[in-house]
Subunit: 158 residues, 2 copies
DNA sequence: CACCCCCTTGACCAATATTGACATAATTAT
DNA sequence: ATAATTATGTCAATATTGGTCAAGGGGGTG
């Protein structure tokens, strides 16, 4: 029954809960105790199996009453187009390119016009004014990557 | 349903009152007694959960007949509210603070939920992963400033 | 055998909550 | 006026969580 691999067991345990609810909230120390592993292994499991790439959202809080919450998101109906955009996105992205990407998303009805405008505000040169222009382009690329990845899923929360 | 965390309970209690009135006035010692905590913890709750980033203003008076009053900033006109949030925004902004700001904007109907989620994606640690943590906080601050700036002009057109 | 990938561990770090001693302000009594 | 009383404010110490990182372990693969 039990795998020799504790990380897989912990993953299965959490996903089993997520089959019936679309979020789990745990206390790290408690889960670590239950599976008889060191607390930081919980972080390892979360980072390797519940990342944003896999459609999960993780929130946590330290200190008294701290917790880790994993929220499951649903795959969009048409993720293929978004995937292609992600894969063809360069390492360094100019504001002009970013505008083109956002426009495409708007044309495809994946973003509303206002959503696009707000996001472009954050992708502007003024917002991303960091030392080097190349670094600015890298940063813009990462912001877009994160956005595209997020758009592959839809939130199920209120 | 009671959190193991008293500060959250006190926050919830106050916000529940604020759902029906747009301000609440308390006697610190009385609330402290009711929740069985030390009086200064009330100050902690107010400072961490009812600041301007969260859309609240706090007035108080000491001595006989003293009180603490929490007022929703929604009473003000929209551009002023946004201005106050901008001015009270620190130079370095954590993701937690950013979440508080976005939540406030959502609560005031200035952003939709989805807009807030997409913007938070770009304000996340993963998106803004740059060398230093301080730099990351500065960057996040600038992104938020840009956003608030844009939203202010938007609201002025009404 | 050499290598690589993934898992596991623990030392150290960071964030949040709680408490209490002491300070400050406003009101009331003398 | 002054003192006593009644409130809230500040700050630093301590407690209570989760986060990061780098080193080591173990099994499969070329």
């Amino acid at each position: 029954m039990a795998d020799s691999n504790m990380s897989d067991n912990i993953e299965a345990y959490l996903k089993q809960i997520l089959q019936q609810a679309n979020e789990v909230e745990i206390r790290r120390a408690e889960i670590a105790r239950r599976f008889n592993v060191v607390p930081s292994q919980i972080n390892y499991v979360i980072k390797t199996r519940f990342g944003a790439e896999n459609g999960y959202l993780v929130e946590s809080k330290r200190g008294g009453g701290g917790y880790i919450r994993i929220v499951k998101m649903a795959l969009r109906t048409e993720p293929d187009l978004i995937d292609e955009m992600r894969q063809s996105l360069p390492e360094i992205v100019s504001f002009r390119t970013a505008t083109a990407v956002i426009s495409s998303l708007y044309r495809e009805k994946i973003l509303t016009q206002r959503e696009g405008e707000l996001l472009l505000t954050m992708l502007s040169k003024e917002a991303l004014a960091v030392g080097d222009v190349a670094i600015q382009g890298q940063l813009r690329a990462r912001l877009l990557q994160q956005l595209l990845n997020r758009l592959r899923f839809e939130s199920e929360r209120d």
